[in-house]
Symmetry: C2
Subunit: 150 residues, 2 copies
Amino acid sequence: MIFSKRCNHGLRAMLYLAARDAENANVSIRDISKELDLPFHFLTKILQDLGEAGLVVSSRGVSGGVRLAVPASELDVLRVVDVLEGEGFLRGCVLGFEECSGKNPCALHDQWKAMREDLMAMFSSQNLARLGERPGKKGNRKRSAAGSKR
Amino acid sequence: MIFSKRCNHGLRAMLYLAARDAENANVSIRDISKELDLPFHFLTKILQDLGEAGLVVSSRGVSGGVRLAVPASELDVLRVVDVLEGEGFLRGCVLGFEECSGKNPCALHDQWKAMREDLMAMFSSQNLARLGERPGKKGNRKRSAAGSKR
DNA sequence: AATAAATCAGAGTAATATATCCGAATATCC
DNA sequence: GGATATTCGGATATATTACTCTGATTTATT
């Protein structure tokens, strides 16, 4: 898995919110957690972070919950990844060097630069509205079992 | 940072070994650790894993150390990443679903599939011999300071 | 044989990521 | 106003990753 659990959970939740964005209603975190089989309390924290970053808004109380802060058509995967993995995830040096630039490149600098741009383009190319239309079949939504590594 | 520390350390060490491969001599882990400013004992474990995977060979005793198990021209970044991150790192579903295939795809399946192939191609396109020729300037080899996230 | 330089193996510690628990605050409904 | 359903905030617990320590084993040199 290339992303952290945190980021995975967050992405799935955002896709789910996008799919239900048309309802224009709050979706309770409990519902998301049940539907996608994600750990409720953890998901709460993740959505709070996405809230602070301005991607979702939340309201408390009896018919409270969360919803996208902006139209799903204006959100993309990259914005979610930037919040949950940190901006250095894609933008940093692939070998982890603090200083890695054209002047002072690591061995993979040039290739990674090109690849990174492709990755960022891909992650921002399609908005959540479009992706939310095809959230995968029901059976596919379940959280994956304990992975092999990482 | 996209890779784990483990993988970063291992990649840097392998690049270093590749650069010194022509000497056809053992390189002590202590030397690698000092030269690249990587934690010695941790690096030892990492190189043991790379040894088990057949990428390096080691010998004990007074002029012992490690060296590449095959010519640097036959090794590439992908092989190192596969060992240190696990093969699922690039090959698994980008959203972390256990079952994600053409029949049962996640929302990002098709795009990720294409991207993943590019990534794998890039990481296997240039061998360590070539990359080792340009290991970055001295000041750039130092281990990066504590990162912002992850 | 003694010494020294190195990896190996396994346990131990520290830090971070992942997840849970609980009480407080807030909003809706009756 | 009381009951209920929700998020919020902070503390705690567990798992994984990152790293350290120590003692054993191996090998070269003298």
